[in-house]
Symmetry: C2
Subunit: 345 residues, 2 copies
Amino acid sequence: MTSTPTPVSLRQKPGPNRLAVTGIGNAMLDIITQDHDEVYRSLGLTKAAMHLIEEHQLDTFYAAMGPTLEMSGGSVANSIAGVAALGGTCGYIGKVAADDFGERFRHDLASLGVELDLAVATDGEGATGRCHVFISPDAQRTMATYLGASNRLTAADIRADLIARSEITYVEGYLFDLPPAMESVRKVVSIAHEHDSMVALSLSDMFCVERHQRDFLDLVTSDVDVLLANEHEVRALFGLGDLDHVFEALDELGVLGVVTRGPQGADVATLSGVVHVPAHDVAHVVDQNGAGDMFASGFLYGLALGADPVEAAGLGSLCAGEVITHLGARPETDLELLGIEAGLL
Amino acid sequence: MTSTPTPVSLRQKPGPNRLAVTGIGNAMLDIITQDHDEVYRSLGLTKAAMHLIEEHQLDTFYAAMGPTLEMSGGSVANSIAGVAALGGTCGYIGKVAADDFGERFRHDLASLGVELDLAVATDGEGATGRCHVFISPDAQRTMATYLGASNRLTAADIRADLIARSEITYVEGYLFDLPPAMESVRKVVSIAHEHDSMVALSLSDMFCVERHQRDFLDLVTSDVDVLLANEHEVRALFGLGDLDHVFEALDELGVLGVVTRGPQGADVATLSGVVHVPAHDVAHVVDQNGAGDMFASGFLYGLALGADPVEAAGLGSLCAGEVITHLGARPETDLELLGIEAGLL
């Protein structure tokens, strides 16, 4: 019997002790249910949006949900899990509480080999963050997020080590919802610049961009190398309705931009203009949750390996295509094997 | 715009205050990971088998697992969740601890409309049961179960109400692992007989059958109306290698038997001999966990609605075919709609 040789990537990985990507974001557990639209509507939620809720609302929200499954989440943490599933070395910085959910979050990233720098909240700073995710029959997700301990990440919690060793430092837009937000983000950016780590920013959520448009714009103008966003978020950022104008603005700022457009794929800025990358073909979409996060995994890991933006976006599409075929925002498949088989790794 | 009418089942459901099926089993949370075979092997587990572990082993097992997702489980509890997803009224009897996992278990069945009679363990009786499930790349599942509080279900915890109102009372074979097992099972059976509820038994696991063969055989001989098992379990029960001989034995005992055979489908005893029912066609099997449990959902609910055994097994195959396309042992789809569309409900 001859055994099939395991395919091997030909790309050059980062050197010893180096990391492809380190992410900084809100550490969260996802509590996921599939339900008809009446359920989240009865809780006052708007379809397909992310809402912030308080600790005293947790019981009401959980009680209203159908059967749930729980797994680690957090937008940038999902992307980092995706980079690990692609075979990349990576790091994650965030804040949890000393509770079961915090332990779950740590376990799930650590078991993928992700290097962690997790600050632990003190008593009275709330429980580990959690996101109630309602999946509609049409695969859209509506979210109610309790930030909890993740919300207490401060500049003092940001240490240099992981960022200093990373090709790319990936910042979650949701961080702008933290009270001393700009201080923490500025510290991340300054460490990254000092160590020649590219700064990538996810705009996270249209409403989050609207809440902090000025701060986002300041950061993008002065400190961001790579911007990841969907079309709604990027329009909200620039106050421009036309995507062509958005790309012109990014070009003037010298920012590499990629705009995801759901089933329409993604648009990527290149030296010779904007290139459209189609979405990966999927027979049946179960849950769109994580599509943007996994696109970021492929795109950023591709860039870290030296791929050009269009190749990197192709890897992003492949990863996004995997995560929408099942419940949950983290991959269920060996993405590295998938990438190698597709000739993208 | 004309809207598509929602398909409606033409079958007669049980009358007011009646239940199609009540299940009695081990109340469990599943902690599920996908990993290469080395992981569970390093813990001394045999592929595709269920192992019992002790409370002091929990940390070691969890630490060895890759990223996990958690959801309610328990073999018969899964089947009851499936009956609820088919649109059936149903009940569940089991035992949990007063902890987060116990609350999760209760929430997930209650939110499906299942009527619950959950005993709560007292201090010192252990935590809520949990099952560590290792999914191999070939979709097989290897299990390490901590019975915990579920193991403390006694005859005193079994009350008549739900069983008395049920067309079918479904007993989990794993109950034979509980210390005063036969006493609890006898009480269940005696209530069921008194109220004309059919007694269905799941053999649960080959090794469980080997541990308690005599007790299983006594029960099947004297008290069981419907027996659900896979080929390994039913061979272990009768000590017979040939399935034809197994069906002859069941026929002599007057037991309606259905033997599931994975991708080969199921064999069902009928008045005119054994009929083979093919497995439902599935493009890509992700996780075989729950296939037997969901087959039982469709089969038992079909019988409760008055379908003949072959039709009921067809509904079982349809349900099993859904659950193996994703991680986890509970359905992610509206099974009632699926059953109606297939002309089986």
